[in-house]
């Protein structure tokens, strides 16, 4: 058992560190608002520089502009970027999820057209999956794309939780193309230019008052026939690829979000020592224990990845642990520092407001526990009322049940 770099990894780390030493002067601040055009353009330029240095798309194949390396090298790059206190790529969703999805399912033309500008930050991507009535039950999406006589598609519907939607150039959209087959079968994935006519984007204000997410409305949006990714009717399979990459990102991503035992301990330490009661110590100990566990769960996951295994749904449990431990940390820090902490301008006040939503990001905790129970432990599935039923009929049954 060894947490150290192999000689090859150490050489790679040195190369990344040297590159960052030479370029960090060009980097914008880590924290800034993407509403600010100047900051946004500085972040685009920085992503371009990272890509040119081989620090973006580490796991992408070389033929698509990546470095063709493994998840361990990705972690090394993330660690060094964190240590250098510079921002990473602006478009984490594009580089982490949508690019790999295009690489896996896109046509040669799509890859050639999109991957370069995506990787270099010239064109940011967003994910158009969730809808107001399709989140955990993602295959229930109702946005529909109808094939026109001229071979184009006409798109109508609404998406939600669209991170970066207001400055994205393209979106990866899951839409229903056939309502007469069961719900998983009638879906297709599309590339949508976000400046197309008929698209309306509206910020969705969260508890802390900022709008990180958007709602996106589609009203008779016309898409060309070559907008389809992975074939008509194969949308669910394409979406699963994305969800798998997402699971990996979220499972390991807690520390990148700053949910670290040491940071929370520093916050408690800075409160008056009269607040350090036995009860406070035990609460801190419990949540710190959970976060330390997740750190080593990440190392275990990297070990399996390096051995060629694919992370299973149990990676989602690391997310459950992380979010709940961070929630407990927020409660504790507010208790020892008092109500002033709740100001969203305060780093922990912001976190406290941010976490209730994060709990459902990438699937609610309840649906994650269902998935793990069924896929990992082999527990029996809940009886389902939607199996094998054409989507159209399912919807009319729902309407009847409500009436």
């Amino acid at each position: 058992m060894d947490l150290n770099d192999t000689p090859e990894q150490a050489t790679y780390r040195r190369r990344i560190r040297d590159w960052l030493d030479g370029h960090r002067a060009h980097a914008p601040a880590v924290v800034g608002s993407v509403e600010d055009a100047a900051y946004l353009s500085a972040r685009r330029a920085w992503q371009r520089e990272l890509a040119q240095g081989g620090l973006a798309g580490v796991t992408w194949p070389a033929e698509h502009g990546g470095s063709g390396l493994g998840p361990i090298e990705q972690v090394i790059v993330d660690q060094e970027i964190g240590a250098a206190e510079v921002p990473g790529v602006l478009d984490g969703i594009g580089v982490g999820l949508m690019g790999p999805c295009l690489i896996a399912h896109g046509t040669e033309e799509q890859k050639h057209r999109h991957l370069g500008p995506l990787l270099h930050g010239d064109e940011v991507w967003c994910q158009l999956f969730s809808e107001p009535s399709a989140g955990s039950d993602l295959a229930a999406v109702q946005s529909r794309a109808v094939l026109q006589d001229d071979g184009t598609w006409k798109l109508d519907g609404q998406k939600v939780w669209t991170t970066n939607g207001h400055f994205a150039a393209f979106g990866m959209m899951l839409a229903r193309t056939d309502a007469d087959v069961p719900k998983h079968k009638g879906l297709t994935m599309f590339i949508v230019p976000m400046d197309a006519e008929g698209i309306t984007i509206r910020g969705l204000r969260q508890i802390h008052g900022e709008a990180e997410f958007n709602e996106v409305f589609f009203d008779d949006v016309v898409l060309p026939s070559d907008a389809v990714v992975g074939g008509v009717g194969n949308g669910w399979g394409v979406a699963l690829t994305v969800l798998m990459f997402e699971r990996f990102t979220i499972g390991l991503g807690g520390e990148a979000l700053g949910f670290k035992a040491e940071r929370f301990a520093r916050a408690v330490a800075s409160a008056p020592s009269s607040t350090h009661t036995d009860a406070v110590l035990e609460r801190l100990g419990d949540l710190a224990t959970d976060l330390l566990a997740v750190r080593f769960t990440g190392f275990r996951m990297l070990t399996s990845l390096a051995q060629g295994q694919i992370p299973g749904p149990e990676a989602g449990l690391a997310k459950v642990t992380t979010v709940n431990a961070a929630i407990a940390a927020g409660e504790l820090i507010a208790d020892v520092h008092g109500p002033a902490v709740l100001d969203p301008e305060n780093e922990f006040g912001y976190m406290i407001s941010f976490l209730p939503g994060l709990k459902s990001a990438g699937g609610t905790e309840a649906i994650l526990r269902n998935t793990v129970g069924e896929r990992v432990l082999g527990l029996p599935t809940e009886p389902r009322l939607d199996k094998g039923i054409p989507f159209r009929e399912l919807k009319s049954r729902e309407r009847e049940a409500m009436a």
Binding site: A261, A269, A293, V372
Partner: protein, 378 residues
């Protein structure tokens, strides 16, 4: 980075499973509840497997293995609820080996069985002193006291619920000298002034005793305070590994029952309330396993983090077993709370483990103390 077990570690684990499979440990655990004299003596099994010498250096007759390997074995004995006296033994062998003590060979060969009287080190960043588990009540008791003269000392004081103490040949302990300095000692259990009083344990697979010392003659072991603290944290990591091991059968039995038991025409595992409770066992178990890696890794490669890691492992595994032993009963319904089922054996193990060697809650607080000390403020 590589957290995979080496071939040797896999072999050690399989050998432990093989050795334990030859003993009907569950039946023995059940029989011992009714009659403690039915508790099988698993010391010969431990000796046959080479466990007494596990962390003793090869030149002193041991196997020269590390904390990580010890935890792998403790996980297996925990899984089988086997009353193998590792928890008292291994921290004792750690201090004897660090002192290059003359008893090492006899201990490694199984001829003499030592047991460590756990003493909790002073917390960093507070002025708390060394302490032992109290004889009465669930709190801390004062550390043993020593009057030192050269290489020998006389030791007095009492420690409660010392694991594996009944029948031990040697006691290792930490005692505070008249000048307030902690020293490490080894005491012949048969010596005058040593009283080892067996205590009936709710978990019949655990052998416990109160240890009373009244001017007991002792030899001072030439080890520094770091080693004495390491013995405490080693015990924390070991009880964590035993607990983690015991969680797995709780999970397996819960899953199996939830698949085969039907109510209202459905297997009960299809209900979210049951499913989620079982998944919670898996979540806590997975966290505890990660923390065992942290403890095992730091024990070898990052000794400055061992106090944090071992305390976190104890906290995580203790909570996992406490939850799992109750969930196992909940999933089974009333039958799980009867002797018709093995669930009570795991419940008893969890209840007692939570309170030994400082207790689970104390370990959580110690995690906080370690982190606050590193953060630079008391």
């Amino acid at each position: 980075m590589n957290l995979a077990l080496s071939d040797e570690q896999e072999f050690l684990k399989e050998a432990a499973q093989g050795a334990l499979a030859r003993v009907a440990t569950m039946e023995a655990a059940r029989a011992a509840i009714e009659d403690e004299s039915q508790r099988p003596d698993l010391w010969p099994l431990a000796v046959g497997a080479g466990w007494p010498g596990l962390v003793i250096a090869e030149q002193r007759g041991g196997a020269g293995l590390g904390i990580f390997e010890a935890l792998l074995i403790a996980e297996e004995t925990g899984r089988a609820l086997a009353g193998v006296p590792l928890l008292g033994l291994l921290p004792a062998t750690l201090v004897l080996d660090a002192a290059r003590d003359e008893t090492c060979e006899a201990v490694a060969s199984g001829e003499r069985r030592p047991v460590h009287v756990p003493a909790r080190p002073a917390a960093r960043a507070t002025d708390e002193a060394w302490s032992v588990d109290a004889v009465t009540g669930g709190g801390r008791g004062p550390a043993l006291r020593a009057r030192v003269s050269g290489g020998t000392a006389v030791v007095s004081g009492a420690a409660g619920h010392v694991v594996d103490a009944p029948g031990a040949d040697l006691l290792t302990a930490v005692a505070v000298s008249e000048s307030g300095v902690p020293i490490c000692v080894v005491i012949e259990a048969a010596a005058e002034g040593v009283l080892v009083t067996p205590v009936r344990s709710y978990d019949a697979t655990r052998s416990l005793a109160h240890v009373n010392l009244d001017d007991a003659p002792a030899r001072v072991l030439p080890v520094d305070e770091t080693v004495m603290a390491r013995a405490w944290y080693f015990a924390q990591a070991l009880i964590a590994a035993e607990s983690l091991g015991a969680v797995q059968p709780c999970l397996d039995m819960s899953v199996a029952y939830a698949q085969e038991r039907f109510t209202f025409g459905r297997p009960i595992g299809s209900y979210q309330s049951i499913k989620h409770e079982i998944v919670e066992i898996l979540r806590l178990m997975d966290n505890a396993r990660s923390l065992q890696y942290f403890a095992g890794w730091s024990g070898e490669s990052a000794p400055e983090e061992f106090a944090l890691a071992a305390s976190a492992a104890r906290s995580g595994a203790g909570r996992a077993l406490a939850f799992a032993s109750r969930a196992l009963i909940n999933v089974h319904g009333g039958i799980g709370a009867t002797w018709e089922h093995d669930a009570p054996l795991f419940f008893r193990r969890a209840q007692v483990s939570s309170r030994l060697v400082g207790g689970t809650h104390d370990a959580s607080s110690r995690v906080a103390c370690e982190l606050l000390a590193s953060a630079g403020t008391p």
